[in-house]
Symmetry: C2
Subunit: 252 residues, 2 copies
């Protein structure tokens, strides 16, 4: 259900990335950035992300900490067919429920694999915690699942993205956060004082300052964010005027 009644209540989320390969540096996590952008676009605030190894105790602890704190928790990784895929078991343990071969998941897999191919390893992918709803996987068929407010998805980005599209149909979304970005070719230290004053004047607009360095030198991006379009426009105009004054001062 997309619940516009609750549009003014912030909807929050966390991401939990599960996998030794991310922590060893062998694989770069692409999922957190993708999910972050996706949730922002539908009005859900990603409030925290964690990466933990393929160790059951660590997964259970992170699932329980994050599901209690945020509206939703999205996990990626660890639901494949090999011995190091322990996410489903860990999520069942976190909720204190049983886990076994799920007839719905088994049916999906039987439709895909011939009997001879339904190895014990592959059958692991049909293990779903009691009480969970399946999340369809249009890419490679073995499903993810939702248990309570926890959405358990694959780690392979193309599969995770397809599962997230499925999951999104069931999410309560908030009012979309509007944002404006202004840039100035100065290090942020130059504009930090007037910017802090403007933040004091607009406490209801989040004003962030993000410095970077490229071959032309310092570039500072000022990002303003608010769910209130009118206040966002006012604050943006004020910051733009400050930057313009700053530029003309410098040109003198």
């Amino acid at each position: 259900m997309s619940d516009s009644d609750n549009a003014d209540t912030a909807v929050t989320a966390a991401v939990l990335v599960i996998g030794d390969e991310i922590l060893s540096g062998r694989t770069r996590d692409q999922n957190t950035g993708y999910i972050a952008e996706y949730l922002t676009a539908i009005g859900i605030d990603l409030a925290e992300a964690r990466i933990v190894p393929d160790r059951k105790d660590d997964i259970v602890a992170a699932v329980n900490a994050l599901r209690a704190r945020y509206t939703y928790l999205f996990t990626t990784g660890g639901i494949g067919p090999t011995h190091d895929d322990i996410t489903a078991d860990a999520v069942a343990a976190a909720f204190g429920v049983g886990i076994d071969i799920d007839p719905r998941a088994l049916a999906v897999m039987k439709a895909r694999y011939r009997d001879v191919e339904l190895t014990a390893a592959r059958l692991r992918m049909a293990r779903i915690p009691d009480g969970a709803e399946l999340i369809a996987n249009p890419v490679s068929h073995s499903p993810g699942f939702r248990l309570g407010n926890v959405y358990v998805m694959a780690g392979i980005p193309s599969i995770m993205q397809a599962m997230l599209d499925e999951a999104a149909k069931t999410l309560r979304t908030g009012r979309v956060m509007g944002s404006e970005t202004l840039e100035i070719r100065q290090p942020e230290g130059a504009i930090g004082d007037p910017l802090a004053e403007l933040q004091d004047n607009f406490p209801d607009v989040m004003i962030g300052s993000y410095p970077s360095l490229d071959d032309k030198g310092f570039l500072t991006r000022i990002v303003l964010r608010s769910r209130d379009a009118a206040r966002l426009a006012e604050a943006t105009a004020a910051v733009r005027a400050m930057l313009a004054r700053f530029e003309s001062d410098k040109a003198e």
Copy 2:
């Protein structure tokens, strides 16, 4: 100090990425992957990573959870000159120590900026918690710092990388984890059962299985990791033999 006396004791670390811009999806975090690879290469196990917003309570809670649990904690982001740069204050609060303009940091900044440029905003970058050591910043000069086992670094990747090189000189490192990678053009479900048996036979070697999809179809990478070179070689030979048997079975 590089402490080879402790080579057999695992040295662990966590990364804490601080910044609203990462959680909103506006900026993709490049630092965690870089640090992960770097630490693996010097024999330190990255055991967890977290991303939190620019909110003091969240930063304090994460710093205290992670510094207690691991040998080292590396933070990135939030030490610039603007109002949303609150990492130094949060780390001081986490340790329960004071924070003020640090004479050493001020000297570095005076050498760089003319008096007129030393705005209140820039002076924020000289605020260092009591008892901390500075981490030199050869790129833009404003230093990071180390307090206890916590290394506080910039968020801009080029600056963070230079600070990490500085920080690494003081780290205790472990015996480097060796690794071998084998590949097979099969989905991992096909080899999951024999692979689980091999993991049982080599409990002292971590065997991970990482599936991916490309335009040629499924590709599974088996990654073996151990600090014991002889056991790693044995396990690698055993997995290679299994994969070869599997390939010849399929060819029949």
